[in-house]
């Protein structure tokens, strides 16, 4: 069993109103140094190991998990057990 960690982030240049609101809140709390916040998603997938696991994950990201129009994705594949 492999544990796949996937990060999905908004592409550069794509407006992130949620990140902007979080940034404003952090500034309100006194963290004046925070200039920009971008909110993304983190997912963990537990997948049976196979020779083409990377190809599968790549496809999953492209077809469903991320929307390539607005989002980038990256992932790592490591040993893992289901929780």
């Amino acid at each position: 069993m492999k544990k796949v960690k996937i990060h999905i982030t908004l592409k550069e240049g794509v407006l992130d109103p949620q990140g902007k609101a979080v940034q404003n809140s952090l500034n309100t709390l006194g963290y004046d140094g925070v200039g920009e916040v971008r909110v993304g998603k983190y997912m963990e997938l537990f997948i049976e190991d196979s020779a083409d696991i990377e190809k599968q994950v790549e496809e999953m990201c492209r077809k469903l998990l991320a929307n390539p129009v607005i989002e980038n994705y990256d992932y790592t594949i490591e040993e893992g057990v289901t929780q």
Binding site: L15, Q18, N67
Partner: protein, 227 residues
Amino acid sequence: MKFAVVVFPGSNCDRDMYHAAKDALGEETELVWYQDANLDAYDAILLPGGFSYGDYLRSGAIASTSAIVTELKKQAEKGVPILGVCNGFQILLESGLLPGAMLRNKNLKFMCRFENLVVENNKTMFSSAYKKDEVVSIPIAHGEGNYYCDPETLAELKANNQIVFTYQNNPNGSVSDIAGIISKEGNVLGMMPHPERAVEDLLGSADGLKLFQSMLENWREHYVAGA
């Protein structure tokens, strides 16, 4: 003319859409559960608004993987008119039937109110009953209606006259004030505002009815002898 209103788990404007086509327009209309994937028997397909699959992952993303999308693509290729409103538009974007994607509204708020739309292109099968540059009052009801596409796609949309409706006062941050776009082939329209909620004066506006009338007139011209 026979309309299909596709119902997904989480659709909530399906009855409004049904009412618009069946009662306001007066044509034969059926509610079709998304798993009953054969749409061959219909002259037009309506994808209603709502929150299909609870908007999990991204609005429309989960619905776009269901078998009905393969069927929609088949019907789109045949030239069957497909109208996606709100969540229906999001499903069309997520399934690649229309270009671009939706982001959260710029102000992060769910907005439900009438907006003035400008008819940018009245030479489509969905907008021929409007005048070019006509301003119509049609309600929006969405939290993720901030249309986004890259500059190349936007240039293409403009060059091909694919922008059908724009907002007079952009409420959500959409690029180029886009409220609704059509496919290059001209038979798939996606829009965030709800024409089906503006089909009689009792609802506050009847401006949306012309959209359904356009579809009917176009169908008659093409398929009814002597029309």
